[in-house]
Amino acid sequence: MGITIKINNEEYDFEIGETILEVARRNGIYIPTLCNLEGTKPTGACRICIVELGKMSAPVASCSTPAAPGMDIQTESPRIRKARKTIIELMMISGNHNCSAIGNSKANLTDFMQEVIEYDGSGSICTAYGECELQSLAYKYMVNNRTLERIPTNYPLENIDPLIGRDFSRCILCGRCVQACTEVSVINAISHGYRGNVAKIVARGDKPLPDSECVYCGECLQVCPVGALYEKRSKYDQRVWDVTREKSTCYYCGIGCRIVVSTKNNKIIKIDGSDEGEPNRGQLCFKGRFGYDFLYNDKRLTKPMIRSGGKLKEASWEEAYNIIIDKIREISGKYGSESIGCVVSPKYSNEDLFMLKKFIEKVSGKTNIGHSEPYSKFKIEYSQIGEYEKIVLIGTDIARDNPVAANYIKQANLKGSEIIEINRKKTDLSKYAEIKLKDLSEFKPDSKINYLVIYSPEYDISSLEGKSNISLNSINSENNTAGAYMVGIANENFEDMKKKKMVFSVSSIPSNEFNTEFLVVIDQFGVESFENADLILPPSVWVENEGTYVNSQHKIYRMKKIVEPPGDTKSLRAIFGELLNLSGSGIKKSTPKYIWDEMIRKDLNLSDDIAYSKLKKGPVQIVDGFFKKISLKSSGSKNDRFRTHKLLCNHCEGLSVIAEKRINPGE
């Protein structure tokens, strides 16, 4: 037996460096915490985790006190319970915690609520009600908050920001948001300001967040234990009893962050990072967290549109299908079937993309379909980034392109990993880089040191290939790029495609770049972005459909349908399943399960191990050799990387300013 401490009269082993709280948690002993944020340095700010070290000693904060041999700790002694009660009471009376009638005996709930109305203009119960960690502790310790007089708030509500609301009346100054900002996303936009009873969490110059370095990752929102920080767009929609939560995957880049989608009345009202582990360990970026309400934008198309007499008019699916079939016949007759082509953005599920490809193959006689995404793979787990002493960033502005990966890099940098940046331009990570080089030729790796290289997929890194001490990794800009490659849709030279006579443009490049006789656009914002489309179909997307996706690590995830698609929208697999049947292919079913098990897996010779039903249990890694069996043309056209990200964010409320600043334009 090693060194031990006693907690509540039982002996427990511990390792040097472990805190009392860590030993207790590891052994299933409950100690309440508020300021403690896993993965960051303990601050001991809130004092709620105090424990007794013996009658002669003052209570100590278990989160920041290392366990030492011979300690005899009590976690719930009468003295500790009494002290915790006081701490909670002091927090409760120092703000608009209107989850309970508060104040001294003279005050009543009505007066208090009136004050809250004057402060936040709503008079509603706190937005965190039912999920608030302070509230639940107040119940647990049966805190009577009528004995002390309430202290009014010093600082007004910060309501100017479109995304993050800051209610200082409910802030308990635990500092979790500061920890998240300095140690998780490592942006350092906020800090502790002022002192004593006027202390406040401040940004640069105590200005509102839009005037600070804030990049709207929203980590602070996610970690706030009370109602001080909240998503403004759905402030009072977040009632825990009204909301349904489902896990899913982010719609933006190739990291494929796991998310928790909160919905109410078939509408997404909030997205949080899922703490289930890889790849993101709870973290998200501004796109993943706030970029969801494009689904509800007024400009979203919900009916097929057909151009007649120069104008786009609403039409039925049947009419649209008939025109497509007629046009295919006409154009193949005139120019040959290979004059039909398709460009697609790999933002759709494997099943969607597969059916699209099948259809294009059927009507053009060739695989006249491509996207603009280079092939890439991220070979390690993101959490392993910190295991490398040298992190080399080549040509990538990763803090903008794949912000969550940048979080891991900055966290590693804080713990001592060195960043070597090879880039002609200044990026957001330049200020963290210990070594800055202009060109790859200047980089002279030491054969005895292990390097983690993360490169922009359009960068030529062939000079580094084949070295056992260099791990080469890159991340896609689109969530299902790897899936597109897997089902056989590769990177194509768009210049050839633009010359085709009939093109299906699926959420891809703008239509004015085409020189077609007939342009079919399939995009949710088809009307505004594709001015000269001849026919537009409204797709249902993302969480509106069930399906499988492959992230940049080449892990297959199965995603649930979470909300009903609006209006007459249809999934790509349904659209092209119907079109295939109309053009004479007998497609029996176009359910995701059928397409995956009976079509994709048969087509690609994929084993039963990744049967649709088995994917339900969790992600499955696709073996390395697999992608080599299918053609991997990577011509590297880079005309629209991240264009879709910008388009989607621009259709979300309050996100366009930050998208303009934070999303790099396609080069």
């Binding site: 350092n188 936009a189 906020i190 300001g193 002022y194 401040v202 640069r204 110059g205 105590d206």
Partner: protein
Amino acid sequence: MGENLSKELNLNIKEFKIDLLKNGSDPGALIPLLQSAQDSYGYVPEKVINYISEFAEIPAAEIYGVVTFYSQFRLKPLGKYIVKVCEGTACHVNGAKSIVDMLLNELGIGVGETSDDGMFSLLSVACLGCCSLAPVMMVNEETFGSLTPDKVRKVLKKYRQK
């Protein structure tokens, strides 16, 4: 950047710049740097916070936190006349509250603030060393004792007319 900053602030930056170079990017040097800035400019201008942040690689929000934590630092220049009103024990029992209230009312600023016209700064202190004259206040180097709210008004009027 130093040159531009000095131009923009129209102040002597020389001394502060030397300190900045001497202390380099050592995060522990933040307080001496801020003191040096305050010595050079009379307060800690926001631009200087941004400047130190970039130079010493300390987040601006953190510097702001430090500046607001210590009462020795000011974020605004002091007024032409510094009014120090005593709220120590003797003054307190002799009605310092009515004196403070009158000052707040007359100057239209809070304790620790400077009026928009740059004339007055109001500070609260714990003792001015002349308790026999309580309640008492100082305006720059001049002391006024046995104050009444009415007397406060007259004193301020005198300074306004100077």
